[in-house]
Symmetry: C2
Subunit: 213 residues, 2 copies
DNA sequence: CCAAAAGTGTTTCACGTACACCCATGC
DNA sequence: GCATGGGTGTACGTGAAACACTTTTGG
């Protein structure tokens, strides 16, 4: 499944099922693994086919194997989740689904199969992981303001953060690179743009640095 | 796979393969999922059949799906790991393996298939998880001394811990119940035995408590 | 009485947390 | 000039880390 961040909210992409079972219901995108591809490759292919997304963060979530998950036959699903930002990546609806749309995580329709359970597992994983691995940046444009970053964490962790403490902490980590660009076209003082400095993050991890927020 | 703790070390159980491929090599225990059982049920059944262990901690780890994992044909493996202590649970060798044995994690033989990768993934998971979920107790007998608990954490985290700080911290959490029993048959001052108080741990978690060590 | 591990407090320092005002910009 | 968010520093308290000696028991 794909999580995305628009300006305001954390969203998930759902597709509307065109055929039985659960015709017309919203579901997570997915498909079958081919004999000549790994699980990761299959997940990336399906993601591309169903949403047009390439080169985004993608990680295995969990494998679901309840017996009657699919009413037709036994299906075991290896679930993956992806992160992207809705600004840099245009997302096309898949051709074989009747529709694709982004849903706010707080306003979800009833889902097909056991997809609500899968989605719940993914949100928990995201919420846990975002605090000690810098995957939050995957949801933002390459250059972002500190306020955008803070809003993101507030959305995912579902609580308010103190502006000064937040900025102090992330800047002190030394994983953000200050650019000389400013936000454009806002009706108030423009904020400075920062970039996630991945090379220096990786260097620091090797020396025992622990991201934690 | 099964991790176990004897008095000194953290170990993993391996079985020696009786047939091709990799005949004679050591491997992780495993088997196939039946159509009428969930993945969790299959993992528990295999665990029981191959080691005689029941009612131990068991959790899904990761699903491995590289194409040539098994040289014979495409196999996708949903890996699980279990934790137990070698005192309370006698472990029998499986009947269909030529041998089963515990191996110190630092003295491993070459493993069959991609089992070294699976094992590495499991150790990382264990190392990460043990710090913020109290699963370490699964590796100890029901009643244990604080020193045993500390040794366990030192083994898993692979570093020394300060005795006074460790005791202060775990006791302050309020998840250990002091029993009135003492260690028996040791050639020095006997230590007090404690028990993990799971009900009160669960109550505290509901109120926002976070285990962390 | 000796060896071996149990048990116990205090000080120091770093970091998390709480908190309020001026600044720059567009309309 | 006013509304809107950008940007900044300090004081306080809690918790992590460093550190050494006395007690108990069995052999």
């Amino acid at each position: 499944m794909v999580f995305g961040l628009d300006d305001a909210d954390l969203k998930v992409m759902l597709i509307q099922r065109a055929g039985a079972p659960f015709e017309g219901r919203w579901a997570l995108p997915g498909g079958f693994v081919r004999p000549d591809e790994t699980l990761d490759e299959a997940a990336r292919r399906e993601l591309d086919e169903e949403t047009g997304l390439k080169r985004v963060f993608l990680e295995q979530l969990y494998t679901f194997g309840a017996i009657k998950r699919d009413p037709r036959e036994r299906v075991i699903s290896v679930a993956y989740y992806a992160l992207c930002n809705l600004r840099d990546h245009k997302v096309q609806a898949a051709t074989d689904a009747s529709a694709a749309a982004w849903f706010d995580l707080h306003k979800l329709p009833a889902l097909a199969f056991d997809h609500d359970e899968i989605l719940k597992t993914a949100v928990e994983r995201l919420r846990g992981k975002v605090r000690y691995v810098p995957i939050g940046f995957e949801l933002l444009p390459r250059k972002f303001t500190l306020t955008q970053l803070q809003r993101l964490y507030e959305k995912i962790l579902d609580r308010q953060l103190d502006k000064r403490n937040f900025r102090k902490k992330v800047l002190a980590m030394g994983i953000l690179e200050e650019t000389d660009e400013m936000q454009q076209g806002v009706a108030h003082r423009a904020a400075r743009l920062y970039r996630f400095d991945e090379p220096s993050y990786k260097r620091m991890v090797k020396q025992g640095f622990n991201f934690e927020l």
